[in-house]
Chain length 197, copies 2
Amino acid sequence: MPVPAFFASVPLEKAYRLLNHGPTVLVSSAHAGSVNIMAAAWSCPLDFSPPKVTVVIDKATRTRALVEASGQFVLNLPCQSIAALTLALGSESALEFPDKLQRHDAQLFSVPEVDAPLVQGCVGWLVCKVVPEPHNQTTYDLFIGEVTHAFADSRVFQDGHWNFDDQPDALRTLHYVAGGQFYVTGASLKIDAPESL
Amino acid sequence: MPVPAFFASVPLEKAYRLLNHGPTVLVSSAHAGSVNIMAAAWSCPLDFSPPKVTVVIDKATRTRALVEASGQFVLNLPCQSIAALTLALGSESALEFPDKLQRHDAQLFSVPEVDAPLVQGCVGWLVCKVVPEPHNQTTYDLFIGEVTHAFADSRVFQDGHWNFDDQPDALRTLHYVAGGQFYVTGASLKIDAPESL
């Protein structure tokens, strides 16, 4: 698949801002011809420079094996228009449903220098190299990734800021609660810094 | 200060749902008569049972010393009505502005068995005991907490689910981006599980 329209690079020093507001992500990974995507609500920035992230990847997932074998994953940020796909990819394990990507018609694309696929229809993408931390991985299922490439849909992310208000609601990012319930990223609120600063 | 109206216990097995949608938090802590509150966008669930969370607490904060000394912190979930307080507490360090809580009129209250104060005007509270992980703390400023008590404002969190849609927007939680820009938690979206399940 070709790279999507409005696909734009994000400078690495601004990469944390893609994840700062706490959206749910799709974790994509690949190894030795196998590809998978799972949903994860438990992902978070960890550092600014170099940008790092955390993500919890359960031992009972196909993604876990692919990430451990390849040392790479992509955090794809889905938006409202693919909420059903996000729930489906997060509800079905590839271990039980090996055809889940095909059945739910997940559309992938690739970028140079990155083995893991990126997910079409998302509005942000953080390509990450695993920072090996065996104790965290074993004890907490917690993975640390260093962001090596960052991209966003230029309609909703410009100059290091999200800007959902001028675009269709379908492009707003998602925040998962449980049981199929999401919240969409809502209204923007700009607060002036305190007078002391 | 008294416990706020609508303050209700949340069963520990549902505690992760307070944080699952990725809101920005206020981290409160206390030790030896000192109290502080900082804002943190980098906080995330880590486990269901017992519930655990992660939060990044920079070495250059007053909160870091209080958390390390006391072994406890509270993640308070601010809402739109206290966005300015949230930005102020996140912009000023108590090391430079030792009177910041008083100057911004942060209202605190306490609950039994918990040394750290809770913040009035918030809509969720996760009391956490530090799970010591010196390597994570030193290398990544990353703290793991086990949730020992969870509370929420019963107007917006009932039966393990947020319900912002029937309440004033002032009670919606916040998601920080940068430079004083927040997003408010937006519309609810309920998606049916895939047919396979």
